[in-house]
Amino acid sequence: MIRYLLGKLAESAIAIWGVVTIVFFVTRILGDPSALLLPIGASPEEMARLQADLGLDQPLFLQYLSYLGNIATGDFGQSFQFGRPAMGVVLERMPATMELAFTALILGTLLGVVAGTIAALNRGRLAELVVMLFALLGQATPVFWLGIMLILFFAVDLRWLPTGGYGTPAHLVLPAFTLAVFVSASIARLLRSNLLDVLKEDYVRTARAKGLMPRVILVWHVGRNALIPVVTMIGIIMGELLGGSVVTETVFSWPGVGRLIIQAIETKDFPVIQAGVALIAFIFVVINFAIDLLYGLLDPRIRERR
């Protein structure tokens, strides 16, 4: 288990390094930010001074090294827009993003597990058809369009819920439900097919031959094995939720990191783009690490491999 853990930790560290490196080099292609920071018509001397201040006159590799050194301490530089440390700006927006992502994840997982189980246990019946149709539609529907449609119905027409914004639980309902539809669709489909596979396993027959109650068999022998791949799926979904936050938060005017990044792209606020993307990717890596640990706990065979 220790070796497994250390291995995963090393993988995560490499992943984080890879992510910040990509962020650095991609944002450097974005262009020279000094041109944006100075008023039009600034003299070349002023330009050169600012570039020296920002360290932009140094060779790219040295810039990269000092970038690595800085971000190790959480320093992504000052936000051009806000004139404050970029990481601080991003961190302020993080709770809103996490609140939405985790609410959606929990709600969607519950829905998906229930729906997937119903579908698998009612093989060939109407219930399976209904669940699978919803799951297929849920997977094919872009989150932002579903969001707009739900706003159209529940906020614009019925006026039950706000069209967007943040603060009260009512503001959370539409965005969380929208994302939960997407989450539950993926989980329901995967869980159904896993359950059907596991139900055919020899050890399920063994469990039945022991005279165990169906509930015990379903939870301990079938459910546990069928849920293992779902755990991996949750990692992928979390990536979609965090990455997709740029879209959902735009749709629902949700003041999270996603919307901040979009604003920063519009204003070429590189430090904020870098900090926002790096932080989300970092959180994603941490979540994946946690998921790998959970995976190891759920499946004893994994622990010994590698």
């Binding site: 396993e201 020899d202 063994t206 469990a207 031959a209 022991k210 022998h221 004893p300």
Partner: protein
């Protein structure tokens, strides 16, 4: 004489598939006395496993379906019991040992968990008591340092050890009847011999009645009191193990015995192989199911199904379903060869 422990009468099982109805078990009847060990032998698809699983509600339904028959166990017809009543019998009065413990044990649960399940379920033991009993059981089936190993997972055990765990699970609630389905098939020959020794020993100590299902006549020879040979969902021959090995009356049994390696023949002769393919049970052949592969088949074998009966010159308890007289035919053949 007391009533038999298990009495199977006219059991027929079919599977409804897209390709048609598969007649997996056809009109099977037999009895097992308490304390007896019955070896059921046949190729895969002979119905040897399916009929046992079916009578305890362990085949998937659908597609499986029991068409007819009755199975009396301790005076009750298993086929008439509800699923809840069957659950109370499975793992309690009747224990199971399945083949390939690699797949038959749950990979993500500890051996402890899998072993105490039947104990808490049927004997109402507390978790602690059940654990104590479970350690005893592992000890009993010859797993060293059982107390430590009980907390491990199946993949941490060798194949032979896993099979011992499987046997411990089957025996957990001191069943009246133990059903072992190809329980040693996945094992190396040496490990197989050890496991068979263990089973013989346990049988002697507890007087458990055993149904040992296998495709291997050799396994049956050293273990069973009686042998029942199945083919195409039917019983072809049945009788005391000694009598069957000495004088088989079914051509199929004879083929199975000839394909066994013997001490002296091993090096000199090629092993006999029964020619042809097992029958397609979607359209079960009329008559003797083995007739198309049987060099001794008579015209009647193709038109009329032979009943299982005792014919003249057979040892007591020895029955065969055949229209031909195998011992006479064999004797004649030997005569012409000379």
């Amino acid at each position: 004489m007391t009533a038999p422990l298990l009495e199977v009468k006219n059991l027929s099982v079919v599977f409804d598939t897209e390709g048609g109805t598969v007649h997996a078990v056809n009109d099977v009847s037999y009895t097992i006395e308490a304390g007896e060990t019955l070896g059921i032998v046949g190729e895969s698809g002979s119905g040897k496993s399916v009929h046992v699983l079916a009578m305890l509600g362990l085949i998937p339904r659908p597609p499986g379906r029991i068409v007819s028959g009755s199975v009396l166990f301790e005076g009750r017809d298993l086929l008439k019991l509800s699923e809840a009543e069957l659950r109370n019998i499975r793992g309690g009065r009747i224990g199971f040992v399945f083949q390939d413990p690699m797949t038959s044990l749950n990979p993500v649960l500890t051996v402890e968990r899998q072993l105490i399940e039947p104990l808490t379920r049927h004997e109402g033991l507390s978790r602690r008591k059940a654990r104590e009993r479970a350690v005893e059981l592992l000890d009993l089936v010859g797993i060293p340092s059982a107390d430590r190993r009980i907390g491990q997972y199946p993949h941490q055990f060798s194949g032979g050890m896993r099979q011992r765990v499987m046997i411990a699970i089957g025996l957990a609630c001191s069943p009246k009847l133990l059903i072992a389905d190809e329980a040693t098939t996945a094992l190396d020959v040496t490990v197989q011999a050890q496991v068979l020794d263990l089973v013989r020993d346990l049988k002697k100590r507890f007087g458990t009645t055993v149904i040992w299902i296998t495709h291997d006549m050799g396994v049956v020879a050293g273990l069973a009191d009686n042998v029942q040979v199945m083919y195409g969902g039917r019983i072809m021959e049945r009788g005391p193990v000694r009598s069957i090995f000495k004088q088989p009356h079914s051509a199929y049994t004879w083929g199975l015995l000839r394909s066994l390696p013997h001490g002296e023949t091993r090096l000199t002769k090629r092993l006999y192989q029964i020619p042809g393919q097992p029958p397609d049970l979607t359209e079960p052949p009329v008559g003797d199911p083995f007739a198309p592969r049987n060099p001794f088949a008579t015209p009647r074998c193709f038109t009329e199904t032979p009943p299982l009966r005792q014919i003249e010159g057979m040892a007591p308890g020895h029955q065969v379903a055949a229209w031909y007289d195998l011992p006479a035919l064999l004797a004649a053949e030997q005569g012409t060869e000379r």
